[in-house]
């Protein structure tokens, strides 16, 4: 130990103590910084999926840039669709590590990035079966341009509560100053008797809806239809980013 002074460096007792104190603090700082970097979520969230701008569109708020996003909801991973990293490999939850076979998820990503003050048209291909929503409020369409969503070409204001597979629900991260950003669209379920096709999934339901983004900000979205497990089926996928919930960054 060089501080003992054998290595030619002669240090007074006080100076030695001082140095060792600083060293202790330094080690502590390293430990904290290391844990933050190691446990931080950056490498844990799926890659960003940015909306592709395809020109402009006329909206109630006049002429706005127009962008589109395309998502799919798969009932479970398969050879063709690997699905997100099982949470288990991140935080070692045996249940999620051992039971992804039945875990539905949004694909290709749940980390969305949308342009600010523009019209967003989102298309979702929904491959999953139905579960009943707890609150019929989420079987209705909210926050889209004309309050409707297009289900397989047919515009509807709401769908059967028993026929909801999932919902896509952005909710505001409220500042009193900024007005809310709330979009909630129920996803139509595929009939239970539908038979699987070559890719191992049934014929999807196509849902399309448009909404207008406001000023830049950070928002979160999640599914409001109980499709996980645990108490009221809100454990598991329902409580994991990358599966049934994610973030929306408006830039």
């Amino acid at each position: 130990m060089f501080l003992t002074g054998n290595a030619g460096v002669r240090l007074s007792d006080g100076a030695k103590r001082g140095l060792l104190t600083v060293l202790t603090v330094f080690i502590g700082v390293l430990v904290v910084a290391g844990s933050v970097l190691f446990l931080g979520k950056n490498q844990q969230e799926p890659a960003v999926l940015a909306a592709t701008v395809i020109g402009t569109a006329s909206t109630p708020q006049g002429e706005l840039p127009h962008a589109t996003v395309e998502l799919s909801i798969y009932p479970n991973p398969s050879s063709s669709v690997p699905g997100p990293v099982p949470v288990g490999s991140r935080i070692g939850d045996p249940r999620s590590a051992n039971a992804p076979s039945g875990w539905p998820f949004y694909w290709p990503s749940t980390t969305l990035q949308l342009p600010a003050n523009s019209l967003i048209t989102m298309t979702v291909h929904q491959y999953d079966g139905s579960t009943t929503v707890w609150n019929n409020y989420f079987a209705k369409v909210h926050g889209t341009v004309d309050g409707t969503a297009i289900y397989n070409g047919k515009a509807q204001k709401e769908i059967e509560p028993d026929n909801v597979a999932h919902t896509f629900t952005i909710h505001q991260y409220a500042e009193v100053t900024q007005d809310g950003f709330f979009v909630s669209v129920p996803m139509l379920a595929v009939p239970s008797n539908a038979k699987n096709e070559a890719n191992g999934y049934p014929k999807p339901q196509d849902i399309t809806f448009s909404f207008i983004t406001g000023d830049p900000g950070e928002y979160v979205w999640n599914c409001e239809d109980p499709c996980g497990y645990g108490y009221v089926n809100f454990g598991g996928v329902m409580s994991e980013r990358g599966w049934m919930s994610g973030t929306v960054t408006v830039v």
Partner: protein, 649 residues
């Protein structure tokens, strides 16, 4: 009196079964951990065979997964306790092979050097040191988690951690710190110092003493492992039914609490029995050092109320692993049942933390002021009052739950009444300080720190005890800042003072006060910054346990985070002072402070049976000080007065 030792040899010894110590000669922490891990793995594998992987219920959850994990954790605890040798005692009792004197001496760690700290050693001094190290380790772990929390809250523009992981961090930080604070004074000092203080040779039940520590040791790994198993995602209170939604990490928490409750209960039995039955001859109840009274009070509260918490976790585990329905409303469970069971311990537990620290500081004040304790009886009355009322105030944690709004009236009453006995303790502190010459050493500085923090914690507590105000502040950062002022500001800074005071007796070396004070004062002032600005955040309306919030709260959170980092630095410096002094500090005389309590009258390091001969007490340990000069003046005045009246006659 020297006869005592002689008699011990005179006592006819029963047949010695094997070498002294018997089975315990072969057990130590290594065998314990080995057996615990082996048993846990075996349980997990065998259970996995019974319920093969991929067996999923309609929701694609692993069938029987929770029960399996619960069994695994239980297997760890039981295996460890077998391996450390905890069951040797009961089996010997069952066979009638009670301990001979030789056995007892071996188990007390006679002639085993440092190795005795890693064994099922019954000597109260060994257990005290074990508790001290364990408490410091837990504080370090909890402190690291605190740094992570403040990092997340300081980075106001983005999420640093996954929200679930953040929730797990705050939960784990909470419960780790609560456990650490419960043991940090009553563990090391209650075990090491208290028996010396009352002039006993050991605790009443030495083997239970070792048992209580090793149960605590066995309880920690399940708790820490919850972070690897999905975490406890709902704070240290783990309100149900959110708990039943969490991943299996929750079971780690529940097994930890169930085990820790056994540990606390056993320690409580031991402390109470020791204090009541083992005081030195002549130590009547009005001569007992006040610290002992404080430990007694804490032990009583822990012993009586901890089972409530324990059973709340037993029932929660039953809900989680076996789908029973104590807290599942669909099946007739009630969320209010959990809240009541939890807070029935949850509030007394606050006093279990604060009371021993307060009592320790009362004990050392007299030494550094060279004054007797101001009205001992009032202090005892204060402790008694707190113990009495503490069991009648738990609902003030539930004002806003909607559980019987009418209950707000009586419980607001009891909550504000408890400030009177607590005021007694402040009176004793102030009365002792009054007109005293302060010997400015580190332990005494902790007294000032504690009184200051208690003032702030007290006034904010006055706000929170009031239902209408609580209607705004409940569940906000204000509450967090308030109980940190009580638990950390009063509890931890008090504990630092107490440990600094008894450090020479426990380790045989003086604490390096230069470095120690730097760390102490840095953390004290940083503490004010951290939680002062946290008060502001709460008043502005920031809820607890959020990882993102309105920009309105940014500034106060930035300040709070800076302060938290500084606390961390200060604590590290203090820790360094402790470690370096322990290893190479200047050797301490047997009574460096010139104190009059019994623990300072015996040698340092303390011999195996504490006292060569048991002392006899003839007065209370507080007769410091010189006659009050003003009394003499008054005497003179009154005498003159007498003459005057005489002359008039």
């Amino acid at each position: 009196m020297t006869a005592v030792i002689h008699e011990q040899q005179a006592v006819p010894q029963p047949k010695q079964h094997g070498k002294p110590g018997g089975f315990l000669r072969h057990t130590n922490i290594v065998t314990g951990v080995l057996l615990g891990v082996i048993l846990a793995v075996a349980t997990y594998v065998i259970g996995g065979l019974l319920v093969p992987w991929g067996t999923e219920d309609s929701n694609f959850a692993q069938v029987g997964q929770e029960a399996l994990i619960a069994a695994t954790y239980a297997a760890w605890v039981i295996g460890f306790m077998i391996g450390i040798g905890a069951f040797a005692g009961p089996i010997r009792w069952w066979l009638g092979h009670d301990l001979t004197h030789a056995d007892a001496e071996y188990m007390a760690g006679k002639d085993q050097g440092k190795w005795k700290y890693w064994k099922y050693t019954t000597d109260h001094k060994v257990v005290g040191i074990q508790y001290l190290v364990m408490a410091m380790a837990l504080l370090g772990f909890g402190g690291l988690l605190a740094m992570l929390i403040r990092t997340e809250l300081g980075v106001t523009w983005a999420e640093v951690f996954d929200p679930n992981f953040y929730n797990s961090i705050i939960g784990t930080h909470g419960i780790v710190m609560v456990i650490a604070m419960i043991i940090v004074v009553a563990g090391p000092l209650g075990n090491f110092i208290m028996p010396l203080m009352i002039g006993a040779r050991d605790m009443a039940f030495p083997r239970l003493n070792a048992l209580s520590f090793w149960l605590l040791f066995a309880a920690v790994p399940p708790l820490a492992s919850n972070l690897l198993l999905g975490g406890i995602r709902d704070g240290w209170t783990v309100y149900q039914p959110l708990g039943t939604q969490a991943p299996v990490g929750m079971i780690g928490y529940q097994i930890c609490i169930i085990t820790f409750a056994f540990s606390t209960g056993i320690a409580g039995v031991n402390l109470i029995t020791t204090i009541v039955t083992m005081r030195a001859r002549g130590m009547t109840w009005n001569r007992v050092p006040i610290f002992v009274i404080g430990i007694l009070a804490a032990a009583i509260m822990g012993l009586v109320w901890f089972p409530m918490y324990q059973y709340s976790q037993v029932l929660a585990l039953s809900d989680f692993a076996f789908q029973s329905s104590f807290f599942i409303p669909q099946n007739g469970g009630s969320v209010w049942l959990y809240e009541n069971l939890f807070w029935l311990l949850g509030h007394p537990e606050v006093y279990v933390i604060v009371i021993p620290a307060t009592a320790a500081l009362l004990e050392l004040m007299v030494v550094f002021l060279r004054k007797p304790l101001f009205s001992y009886k009032i202090a005892v009355a204060g402790f008694a009052g707190v113990v009495g009322i503490s069991s009648l105030v738990w609902v003030h944690h539930m004002y806003m739950t909607g559980w019987s709004p009418a209950a707000g009236y009586p419980f607001m009453l009891s909550t504000e009444l408890i400030s009177i006995p607590f005021g007694f303790l402040v009176l004793v502190m102030l009365g002792t300080i009054w007109r005293g010459k302060v010997w400015t050493r580190l332990p005494m500085m902790c007294v000032y720190a504690m009184i200051w923090n208690k003032i702030i914690g007290g006034i904010t507590g006055v706000y929170l005890s009031d239902v209408p105000v609580d209607q705004y502040m409940h569940g906000s950062m204000f509450v967090v800042a308030h109980f940190h002022f009580m638990l950390m500001g009063a509890g931890l800074f008090g504990a630092m003072g107490a440990i600094a005071y008894w450090f020479p007796k426990m380790t045989g070396r003086m604490l390096n006060e230069r470095i120690g004070s730097i760390g102490f004062w840095l953390s004290f002032f940083a503490f004010q910054l951290t939680f002062g600005s946290m008060f502001v955040a709460g008043l502005q309306g920031q809820p607890r346990r959020v990882l993102q919030f309105d920009n309105a709260f940014n500034v106060s959170n930035w300040l709070s985070t800076i302060g938290a980092y500084l606390i961390g630095v200060g604590m590290l410096i203090f820790l360094y002072a402790i470690i370096t002094s322990w290893r190479s500090g200047q050797v301490a005389p047997s009574n460096p402070w010139g104190a009059k309590t019994l623990e300072w009258q015996t040698a340092t390091p303390v011999p195996l049976e504490n006292f060569p001969v048991l002392p006899v007490v003839t007065s209370d340990p507080y007769d410091y000080g010189v006659p009050d000069p003003y009394l003499a003046i008054e005497k003179k005045l009154s005498d003159e007065n007498q003459d005057v009246t005489a002359g008039a006659r």
